[in-house]
């Protein structure tokens, strides 16, 4: 591949990535406006023993959160104590009110959902899943 070909390939990849990002951004907003549910920001990290999911849900109380998990997914649904209003653009600007956070999060590896632990502090929910054992430990003689 020549230098020019390589550069055009990089440009094409950059454009494809931008398009994917834009599609995701649009689908998030479409979901929010059609469902009345906000998609919370979240972060997934991994350690050798755990998969840790942090979810930002400002204004949510512990008793208003519903959490369900499988080996590969976490479902979160939470009601906001006070509704959140934003102005939506369109032919005419209109106010849209949101009352819930809702999200399905795919986990990067299989976990043991029965042993998950969750805590909420300052509106940040943290769920820790022990990883599902994929093999058995072998001691070296």
């Amino acid at each position: 591949m020549s230098g020019e070909d390589f550069l055009s390939e990089v440009e094409r990849m950059e454009k494809r990535m931008r398009k994917i990002s834009e599609d995701i951004a649009r689908s998030v907003k479409e979901f929010e406006y059609s469902s009345g549910c906000l998609e919370p920001l979240y972060e997934v990290s991994e350690t050798p023993e755990e998969v840790i999911v942090s979810i930002d849900m400002p204004g949510v109380k512990k008793e208003d959160i519903s959490l369900e998990a499988t080996e590969n997914r976490l479902y979160v649904d939470a009601e906001c104590r006070s509704s959140i209003s934003v102005r939506k653009w369109g032919v005419r600007s209109q106010e849209k009110t949101f009352k819930r956070f809702r999200k399905v999060i795919n986990l990067p590896s299989s976990v043991d959902p029965d042993k998950a632990k969750a805590s909420l502090r300052s509106g940040v929910l943290k769920v820790r899943f022990p990883r599902k054992k994929a093999g058995i430990r072998i001691d070296i003689e």
Partner: protein
């Protein structure tokens, strides 16, 4: 076609050894939230903006008025450069170099780049620490007057703020990076409030952080979209390197 990246001053200002703040979106949107609160609370006047073909073609509409998304504000010998757009990775060098040169043209006493430093255990911190990176001896002298700050001795700094500090050093403008421990991917008004507390050392930047903390939940919701956009750019810049430890011993 020639490349367009320029700082446009729409109103003239008279300043003497001003302080210049930079609050581009970054970790936890700390700089953005802090500079927005400062500009709104102290009624700064917009005196210019940054134009670049690297930014998406957009304007901000507020109460029927049109604004540039990357604005320059001024009041009481303080300039603030703040943005509703993250700096795209492709334009980081060009944009920050232009901004550094404009800042230098104002003969500032110091340039303060405000941001967050990712802290994985942020959830446990009620009072995040603030770390500083001066870009030279002159900046280090200014830093001595600021209380409650730790020097960042080892680590990586990635992105527009790294470029600004580097460019300023290259052209001889004193600059300090001020970074509060913050959530990496969540808007963090608490970290922004901590930065504003440090800035209150300067009389012309003293603001009440009470209203900021009272509306923290609303701010976290409002800034979600900017955080998502910023996260995309941070990923492209390999921002996660800030969590790594430098390997070379010099």
């Amino acid at each position: 076609m020639s490349e367009i990246t320029e700082v446009v001053e729409s109103r003239s200002t008279v300043s003497k050894k001003p302080i210049i703040l930079e609050g581009f979106p970054d970790v936890g949107l700390v700089g953005s939230i802090a500079t927005s609160h400062l500009v709104n609370t102290l009624d700064f006047e917009q005196v210019g903006h940054v134009e670049s073909e690297y930014f998406p073609p957009m304007v901000t509409i507020r109460k029927g008025d049109m604004y540039e998304p990357v604005g320059i504000f001024y009041k009481n010998n303080v300039y603030v450069v703040t943005s509703e757009l993250p700096v795209p990775v492709a334009g980081v060098y060009r944009i920050m170099s232009k901004i550094a040169n404009w800042m230098k043209s104002k003969s500032p006493s110091v340039i303060l780049s405000l941001g967050g430093i990712p802290e994985p255990e942020r959830i446990k911190l009620d009072d995040p620490s603030v770390f500083a990176i001066p870009n030279g001896k002159e900046a280090a002298e200014v830093l001595k007057g600021l209380k409650g700050i730790e020097l960042l001795n080892e680590g990586f700094l990635v992105g527009p703020k790294a470029m600004l500090l580097k460019e300023c050093r290259k052209i001889g403008a004193p600059a300090i990076g001020l970074f509060a421990q913050a959530y990496y991917k969540f808007p963090d008004p608490g970290a922004a409030a901590k930065i504003l507390t440090i800035l209150s050392t300067f009389e012309n930047m003293r603001v009440d952080i009470g209203p900021l903390m009272e509306s923290a939940e609303k701010i976290r919701v409002q800034y979600r979209d900017l955080m998502r956009r910023t996260e995309e750019e941070m990923n492209r810049m390999e921002k996660s390197r800030e969590l790594e430890i430098p390997g070379l011993i010099v």
